[in-house]
């Protein structure tokens, strides 16, 4: 049976995720209110503005039921603002998100303003893409701390010549600082579908 992937549809890059879900032949569902959580096999928290989405999550009564479902193992993928919402620690503060279940620390807008937004093309990513893939960072957050059992998934080179982690996973949680929904292809969406939702 087709798997149903929900996309939190309060604000931000919702349509782009829905298109990718459709393109890989899965069932899409927009999630705005608690009743929309019924029948989904996984959920994507899209990019957008964290404060806005976080506030609407609470006001629409979604924060608590969603948190509970994630604790019980519902596969979740946060892109950019979505990854920030998943993080236990935001800008050095703990419990600063209405979700806040993934043991990572993030710094918002860590690369700077819009002029510092960038595209990084990497040759391949094991399990995700054997082809070169472009990662799109829009006023992106940085993963400044990863919990001991959180697994780094994608790394890029920094301007200073070091490496930094831009995607991570643990159990049913997947977080990417970049926006696969804005790029070509469905490699990351397939990865979420086949390795998390199954």
């Amino acid at each position: 049976m087709k798997k149903t992937i929900g996309v939190l549809a309060l604000q931000g890059g919702v349509a782009e995720h829905l298109q990718k879900i459709e393109a890989m032949g899965a069932q899409k569902k927009e999630v705005r209110f608690p009743s929309d959580l019924e029948g989904i096999d996984g959920i994507i928290l899209p990019g957008g503005e964290t404060t806005c989405i976080g506030k609407l999550l609470i006001e629409n009564g979604l924060a608590e039921p969603l948190r509970k479902m994630l604790e019980e193992g519902l596969p979740v993928w946060g892109t950019c603002a979505g990854a920030i919402l998943l993080a236990k620690e935001i800008d050095g503060k703990k419990n600063n998100s209405p979700i806040g279940l993934m043991d990572i620390g993030v710094k918002r807008n860590a690369y700077g303003k819009q002029l510092d937004s960038f595209i990084e093309t990497i040759p391949s990513i094991p399990l995700i893409s054997s082809q070169p893939i472009s990662l799109i960072f829009i006023r992106a957050p940085r993963f400044v701390r990863l919990g001991k059992t959180v697994e780094p998934l994608v790394e890029i080179s920094t301007a200073q010549g070091g490496r930094e982690i831009v995607a991570a996973q643990k159990n049913n949680f997947l977080a990417t600082a970049f926006h696969p929904e804005l790029g070509n292809g469905t490699a990351f969406h397939e990865y979420f579908l086949h390795h998390f939702i199954r």
Binding site: G12, G48, E49
Partner: protein, 292 residues
């Protein structure tokens, strides 16, 4: 498409379903952010005050814009006069996130708009109709908005402009190539962009509604008419209770299809800004006629 242009269009995509609010100082910017604004427009006077004061309206003091940049983590936009590419250079130098080449300010050039391809920083521009939107996109705009009639608290012009754009997009979808050429000729639209819109059934960039939006219902109306998001200028901080109204407009923009939610958020939010009747306004008082 070059990377920078894509990234700049992408930022606008991340603002979809959100509200961008005019603010005149850091305090208002924080109120807007807390209310759930996805970006703020930093300016010295909101459009209704510009309208009242008259005189030449220019780019705001960069120091005041920088204070607002310091105060919030959401993107900060600011306005330049139509055609004033040096004001745009100045805003780029202070790393503004988006420039609004705006008819709300007094135009600096009555013939030319800014060549926006020369800039790394993205631009949003206003349009009355599809042809105008496509001309601005051809000049490098990465986001569009309706002009509406700013500072009036009257939504009628924004509705007119949004309907003009969406209705023409629907018409283009059914046209033959030779008809698309006629459309391009008659509306002064770049032919390649006309063909792209006809094929894809939508603008190549995000399109927000702006100009005269004063209530949650106004915001939801424009969203139902096909807007990707909402700019509110004077409508928030010229109302009786800016905080409540800001929150209500944010909620209405996301739940625009749900009349029950709209009823709830429209209740007890204080008086809106007082409005102006646009129909008996002198042609010279209209801001939407600035630019082409």
């Amino acid at each position: 498409m070059e990377d920078r242009k894509q990234l700049n269009r992408n930022l606008a995509q991340m603002l979809k379903g959100g509200v961008i609010m005019d603010v005149v100082n850091a305090k208002e910017a924080k109120i807007a952010e807390q209310a759930g604004a996805v970006a703020v427009m930093a300016l010295e006077r909101v459009p209704s005050d510009i309208r009242r004061d008259g005189g030449v309206a220019r780019m705001s003091d960069p120091a005041m814009i920088m204070e607002i940049q310091e105060a919030v983590s959401i993107p900060v936009m600011a306005k330049v006069r139509i055609g004033h590419f040096v004001e745009a250079q100045i805003l780029e130098a202070i790393s503004i996130d988006y420039i609004d080449e705006s008819e709300v300010l007094t135009p600096a050039d009555e013939l030319h708009h800014i060549n926006k391809h020369k800039f790394k920083v993205p631009f949003v521009c206003g349009a009355n109709n599809l042809g105008e939107a496509l001309r601005r996109i051809a000049e490098g705009a990465c986001m569009m908005r309706t002009k509406g009639e700013a500072g009036t608290g009257n939504v009628v012009e924004a509705v007119r402009h949004m309907r003009a754009i969406t209705s023409d997009i629907r018409r283009l979808k059914n046209m033959e190539l030779e008809e698309l050429m006629v459309y391009a000729k008659n509306t002064g639209s770049p032919f390649e962009l006309v063909c792209q819109v006809a094929k894809e059934g939508k603008l190549p960039v995000v399109n927000f509604a702006a100009g005269g939006i004063a209530t949650p219902a106004d915001a939801a109306l424009l969203m139902q008419l096909g807007s990707d998001g909402i700019f509110v200028g004077s409508g928030i901080f010229k109302s009786e209770n800016p905080e409540k109204r800001a929150q209500a407009i944010v909620k209405a923009t996301t739940a625009y299809q749900d009349p029950k939610v709209l009823a709830e958020v429209s209740s007890r939010i204080g008086k809106p800004m007082s409005g102006l009747d646009v129909s008996n306004m002198e042609e010279t008082e209209r801001l939407a006629t600035r630019g082409w």
